[in-house]
């Protein structure tokens, strides 16, 4: 299973599961990263962390250590316009 941390820029993935519990997980999910949501990995910050993803039509930045707890699978190409 892939985690969001391993996804290179420019790819679109679908969230399968979010690991962990408590405040960090809740915050990630509150921001719209829930099971089945599509994420487009837009870029990595100049110093290598955090990453910027597009979720539910807006831009969100999160740290790689948090991205590691988000399990994803690649979305078929056609879904990303």
């Amino acid at each position: 299973m892939l985690t969001l941390k391993e996804i290179p820029c420019g790819e679109t993935v679908t969230v399968v599961k979010i690991e962990g519990a408590g405040p960090v997980k809740r915050r990630i999910m509150d921001m719209g990263i829930t099971k089945g949501a599509e994420l487009f990995v837009r870029k990595v910050a100049p110093l290598g962390d955090p990453v910027e993803v597009n979720v539910r039509n807006y831009e969100l930045s999160l740290r790689k250590e948090d991205a590691e707890s988000i399990l994803v699978e690649k979305t078929a190409e056609k879904t990303r316009v």
Binding site: I18, A21, G22, P23, V24, K25, R26, R27, I28, M29, D30, M31, G32, T34, K35, G36, A37, R42, K43, V44, A45, P46, L47, G48, D49, P50, E52, R56, N57, Y58, E59, L60, S61, L62, R63, D66, V81
Partner: protein, 722 residues
């Protein structure tokens, strides 16, 4: 009893713009009790007894962040008469997530879809009737920026408040979840009124610890736990996540028919700007350039001019307006007092105590307003979030936020606006940490002290001045690491999950409003502490025992302060400068750091000395060893800042306890660092070894152990003090 409408919404949804538009200038800005979160109220325009309460910008009603807990407690305890929920129409899905939670509170509510102008321009679909039906609550469209539809939105909220029409939430979750919620509802205490029962049921399902005691369901805790566990097993997820998933699923299906973005253009304006601004190569140079402009304008050029005008002109020797000479306030007041024949002590109190004190407060204001103007612009246009994005990697290592860069940078000019600039940091812990460490960096007023020591004792040696900055940066970094691990700052790790809002050009009205609001809050809240402290120091330095009786003294050396300095000079003996002159200079440095040089001048018998105190270099080099002088320098750089900065710390911390913690930490840290420098320096240069050398070694061991120990265990929940 006025009607109260609470304004709720996500950050970046245009909430502040709407609030300003609806209330005009009828605003009261303060803080929520005991915390650093701003609280704003205002009277609704054209309505005598309708109050609009601006809740903190939040994404959810979870129990984990300070702002969310404040908003939740307010909504539950104060029960406003209506909620006006503003949502960003260009980001509807995530904005409605908060809406679904607000709806469950059973408070009359109107949803105002903001940025309708942008939606129309894009050709997006927005069916308000359809959305109203699907969420069981009226949806209206507004443009807060252009003022379109806002009066109608407020009127609708007012009507619903007066008639007490609670929303009828129709969004429902998965059948298994709904069954569990029904079962929990049955266990709730009878004291929970019908419209709120769903809210409590959902919160109990989520195992929200802060709600448990309110729900009147303590005796049913076990059976509720069984219901929740069964649902978790059935849906293979934890309860909190089940609810979050269900909410988003509801929203996606509810807006299917009423909302569609015209997705012809995928590359938005913001994406194009960000390709450059947060580009891997260009981001840092652009950041450096932006910081340079902010610093250059607000600290060195316009800012310095404004401060000089205020300090040396209005509160100094006078200034010129179109060739007309306007006397400074002290001179004008002085001649007025002399004309009135006021007693010496009275004119001294007014001139040297109060006017000098007020001047110390107001002198900072022009420069601060310029800085706040920039900050409001950077926040409003969306660049501030990018700063955090770019700098996070570096700053989080020592417990600060990427946004801490700005306060520290501004702090090199003046610590007061630097501390006030920490307001842009959302996270409470990062903000407190930034406030505590910002004044470690040498500010403009500390430069004369550096020049004095470097000139008098080190013959202008090249590394002395830069080393002051190095000491400052090292103090910030090590304090960040040390404090991060203490119990005070332990707690749930604050997740850095941050929205990067679209770039928007902020309106002049909003920028000026924010600039004025922050400037005014400094004058009001910081002003008192600065004034009182200045009057106290004035009293101590101009009264004393001379010729056997107590009264006003002409010489600083005869004053109470000098007596006090002589009594307590032993405190600084371990640091190598246990001399009453140095002690008194350190005390007067609290009024303004540049006073340190002037005080030395006076105490060595000069009436006036140059800014770097060149006249007294000889006296100093006779009285101090270079090592002691360097310890003195470091102590004065790191210890409690001037009263103006202490006032700013008090303002930003919004708590006497935290102000004492900050000042105490700074002074204690300064003392130990100076001790180590002097005693260990002495050991290496002369081989002198004594009790204090041991103490210094102990301090080093303590320092290293604090630096490298594991972090303190988190107390239950970080926001439990709320």
């Amino acid at each position: 009893m006025p009607l109260i409408i609470a304004l709720a919404g996500n950050p970046n949804s245009g909430k502040t713009t709407l609030f300003n538009a609806l209330t005009g200038s009828n605003q009261f800005v303060g803080n929520w009790p005991g915390v650093t979160v701003e609280k704003k109220e205002g009277r609704l325009r054209g309505q005598k007894d309708v109050l609009l309460m601006d809740l903190p910008g939040i994404y959810s009603l979870s129990p984990y962040t300070l702002e969310e807990v404040i908003a939740r407690n307010y909504l539950l305890d104060e029960r406003p008469d209506a909620i006006l929920n503003i949502v960003d129409g260009t980001n509807l899905e995530r904005n409605l997530y908060l809406t679904t939670q607000l709806l469950e509170l059973g408070i009359p509510m109107v949803v105002a879809v903001n940025m309708i102008d942008l939606l129309q321009k894009n050709g997006d679909l927005l069916e308000l009737d359809d959305l109203s039906r699907r969420f069981g609550c009226p949806f209206v469209s507004i443009s807060a920026l252009k003022g379109r539809g806002i009066a109608e939105a407020a009127d609708e909220a007012l009507r619903r408040a007066k008639e007490n029409i609670a929303p009828a939430p129709v969004h429902s979750f998965d059948d298994r979840v709904e069954a569990a919620l029904r079962a929990i509802t049955a266990e709730l205490g009878d004291e929970i009124p019908a419209p709120q029962r769903r809210f409590f049921a959902v919160k109990l399902f989520e195992r929200d610890e802060k709600i448990l005691p309110r729900a009147g369901a303590a005796r049913a805790a076990e059976s509720i736990e069984r219901i929740v566990c069964a649902a978790e097993e059935a849906l293979d997820d934890d309860a909190e996540s089940i609810i979050t998933n269900e909410r988003y699923a509801c929203i996606v299906s509810a807006i299917k028919s009423g909302y569609r973005r015209n997705s012809a253009e995928k590359m938005t304006q913001t994406d194009r700007i960000d390709r450059v601004i947060t580009n891997r190569v260009l981001a840092l140079p652009i950041f450096a350039a932006v910081m340079f402009i902010v610093y250059y304008v607000s600290v060195t050029t316009v800012g310095a001019f404004a401060t000089d005008w205020a300090n040396d002109g209005v509160f100094g020797e006078g200034w010129r307006l179109f060739g007309l000479r306007i006397p400074g306030i002290p001179a004008a007041a002085g001649s007025a007092l002399a004309a009135l024949g006021a007693a010496d002590w009275l004119s001294s109190l007014l001139l040297d105590g109060i006017i000098a004190g007020v001047g110390a407060v107001l002198g900072f204001v022009p420069q601060m307003l310029i800085l706040f103007f920039f900050l409001a612009f950077l926040e409003g246009c969306g660049y501030m979030a990018r700063i955090a994005f770019i700098m996070d990697r570096i700053f989080r290592k020592f417990g600060l936020s990427g946004k801490s860069f700005i306060p520290i940078l501004i702090g090199t000019g003046c610590g007061v606006p630097g501390i006030m600039a920490s307001r842009t940091i959302e996270n409470d812990r990062d903000r407190k940490m930034t406030v505590i460490t910002t004044t470690f960096i040498p500010c403009g007023a500390k430069l004369p002290i550096i020049a004095l020591i470097a000139g008098a004792l080190f013959d202008g040696l090249w590394w002395v001045a830069p080393s002051a900055y190095f000491v400052g940066i090292a103090a910030i970094v090590s304090s960040g690491v040390i404090l991060k691990k203490t119990r005070l700052f332990a707690g749930n790790p604050a997740p850095f999950v941050m929205e990067l809002p679209p770039y928007r050009l902020p309106t002049a009205a909003n920028v000026l409003h924010s600039m004025w609001e922050r400037g005014w809050s400094f004058i009001k809240r910081a002003g008192t502490i600065i004034l009182v402290s200045c009057v106290l120091i004035w009293f101590l330095s101009s009264f004393g025992f001379a010729d056997g009786r107590f009264g006003m003294v002409a010489e600083l050396g005869d004053g109470l302060l000098a007596a006090l300095g002589t009594r307590v000079a032993w405190i600084f003996t371990p640091l190598g400068f246990g001399d009453w002159k140095a002690t008194v200079a350190t005390f007067t440095g609290l009024v303004a750091k540049e006073n340190v040089v002037g005080t030395f001048g006076v105490l060595y018998g000069f009436t006036e000395v140059a800014e770097d105190g060149a006249e007294i270099w000889g006296n100093l080099s006779a009285g101090f060893t270079p090592l002691a002088a360097y310890a003195f320098l470091v102590f004065n750089l790191l210890c409690a800042p001037c009263f103006a900065a202490i006032g700013a710390i008090r303002r930003e911390m919004n708590s006497a306890k935290w102000t004492f913690i900050a000042i105490g930490y700074q002074t204690g840290f300064a003392y130990l660092v100076s001790l180590c420098i002097f005693r260990l320096g002495l050991l290496f240069t002369t081989g002198a070894f004594g009790v204090f050398t041991l103490a210094a070694c102990a301090a080093v061991v303590l320092f290293l152990s604090l630096l490298f120990r594991p972090a303190a265990r988190a107390p239950a929940v970080r926001t439990s003090t709320v």
